[in-house]
Subunit: 212 residues, 4 copies
Amino acid sequence: MQVLKEEVRSAILLAAYEEFRQSGYSEASIRRIAAAAGMTSGNIYRYFRNKEDLFDAIVGPLYSEYSRYAQEYLQTAEGIVTGGWDVQARTIFFERVQATLIGLLMASGPSLLLLLCRSEGSKYESIRSELTGFVESLLTKTFSAAKAAAGPLNENERIEIGMLSATLIEGVAWIAAKYHDSERLGTLVEQLIDVFGGGVEKRLLVYRDLNG
Amino acid sequence: MQVLKEEVRSAILLAAYEEFRQSGYSEASIRRIAAAAGMTSGNIYRYFRNKEDLFDAIVGPLYSEYSRYAQEYLQTAEGIVTGGWDVQARTIFFERVQATLIGLLMASGPSLLLLLCRSEGSKYESIRSELTGFVESLLTKTFSAAKAAAGPLNENERIEIGMLSATLIEGVAWIAAKYHDSERLGTLVEQLIDVFGGGVEKRLLVYRDLNG
Amino acid sequence: MQVLKEEVRSAILLAAYEEFRQSGYSEASIRRIAAAAGMTSGNIYRYFRNKEDLFDAIVGPLYSEYSRYAQEYLQTAEGIVTGGWDVQARTIFFERVQATLIGLLMASGPSLLLLLCRSEGSKYESIRSELTGFVESLLTKTFSAAKAAAGPLNENERIEIGMLSATLIEGVAWIAAKYHDSERLGTLVEQLIDVFGGGVEKRLLVYRDLNG
Amino acid sequence: MQVLKEEVRSAILLAAYEEFRQSGYSEASIRRIAAAAGMTSGNIYRYFRNKEDLFDAIVGPLYSEYSRYAQEYLQTAEGIVTGGWDVQARTIFFERVQATLIGLLMASGPSLLLLLCRSEGSKYESIRSELTGFVESLLTKTFSAAKAAAGPLNENERIEIGMLSATLIEGVAWIAAKYHDSERLGTLVEQLIDVFGGGVEKRLLVYRDLNG
DNA sequence: GATGAATGAGCCTTCATTCAT
DNA sequence: CATGAATGAAGGCTCATTCAT
């Protein structure tokens, strides 16, 4: 049975996804992918230039989308900030972060897992810190607004924000690695952000007093 | 360029640390370590039996200490639980988790990073899930106590607890990966736990109402 | 220089045979085998899982056959013993040993050499002592029967039997190492057994006198 | 405690003997020898140029002695042959082979074991076939004399003689490998030669008839 | 289009040997 | 005299990648 090109490509991608998921980019074996896709390793190179290219084909689109998302969102956030940053604004903010992340998770399907958790050794391995930077910039706004008249953020505060952002992303990555059912994913990220939001709120009270 | 033994051993450990940090246990190359340490790969085997032994030399002591810590702590936690689990007990609990983790972090220096973040493929690779399980058991107690008469934890709640525990550990790992100054480490973990504690408190309120 | 699979496999086996013959299992070098077969060492692993598997491919079938042979033979020998062990029985016995060994030799071709003489370090390295034990048990029966009323074998006699058995097998191994033409093999083992038989007969006379 | 040179040399030789005996020439480890001799591997090279030289020091003298022995003996054998080769001469011959081998075994002490059984990979690995050639020349004389008027030996007979000689030496080697007590060694070689002698006698009868 | 044989560089590891100390 | 650190070549083996078929 002669297999059409697109079908073969899909078969490879499917097998590659599974292999990358199980072994990570570095440890993934082209041979195993080929075997799982029902062909020889050599044939994979007719469809993809090399291992990196194959990984690209799976996570690249998502990465592009993420990039667009991120940029768009940062602008929206700008708008929110401009309109003041009180408790309500903050609520909107957290709902927004939540919506964004959940949207990303649900829209991206399984490839997010690879991008976030299995990209070590590939050119995407910095994605986590990028995402972290994204959350970081939003949290920075929140803290700055809360501090208000108390002045700009000091180094300690900036470091705390960095840590919280990173941890949030690590948590999201962990969720993505463990659960693939999108409803579950949504719920968990919601809960995670809720906990973070609650905790951050509490920490911000100190500024309220200072400002009050 | 004859060097004294201890110096060479140190040079190897230094180079190995850097290599493990960059590539992780599996992908680390003995040859690269040797080159970075200014010697031939063969010479490394005069100082360490094999790759595993070399990794051991860096993270083994910390792991032992962690094991001791964990065991001790579980017993202490038991004691706390027995004495009821109200807000005060919970506060003690969180301070305790904090103290334990911070103590570990401060005692460990940079090797914690390898143990937590770069041990995949080594015999230590389960450390994160161990730590997570450890936090999980404590969080489970907290939630159970809070729920009290409302009955045992359901599946969703157990999953949420798992996620929160994992995220906490991921956050600690991230901190360990980024900062090696023990004061900074202590502060950040404190802050992280504070945020988690605050967020969890907020989430537990729903049970208080149910029980009330 | 693309070659068909079976040809390559044969080329590897041929080169491996030669290498094993010259260097023995332990000292044999996969790289040398590859070079002799006109390829890279890595390619050998497309045909054989590892060094042991390669050795297996050459001597394994023979070993299996030997195992079958040995088992069958031991049962036959049992039958002979039960029917008394006079000169005629002994003659049958020697003819039988002869037939067995010769059958094995003829069926085996050159691989017997590897199995008997070059298997040190492989899982077959005990074959000589197995074969020796096999011959030993038969010789023990012969001596015991000859001694008859003179009582059981003493330690010296048991040691002598061990030595004779071992020497017979060493002789067979030597023959296998030197000649691969099955007719020649047959003749030589026949002659060897004939000499042993004659010599043993002579030594047994002393018992005949004792028993007489 | 400063150790005198000769003592050190002896210690090395002793350790080397044990290592060669256990592992054979090829697999013997200079490091293990050094450790067993209570020193560093480097120091061995102050006493012996290299591994081969060390093996030489143990086995070389015996080899020289063997060479002298062999030559001498061949001449003696010549004398025996000249005086006819009847049953009595043959008896003398076998007693002589026996005496020679046993003398060699007993005089040589443990080093014969290395020379005969553990020299694979060294320049002495041909010793067995040399010894075989030696026995072969004697057996050739025996058979030739027995055949007498029946003409010179044909190829089959020469091959048989070669095989018998080799087997005898293989047997002696086996004995040397297994027993180190010189009395036991003597007895066993005696018995082996007795069996061979008896067997060969029997085979020679055919010529007697032909000649008669 | 696809195969799969082949390569070559790399992996961890061992070891006889050298040489600065 | 002796040490032991260091080398370099070799060991078995894996794997992404290429290319004749």
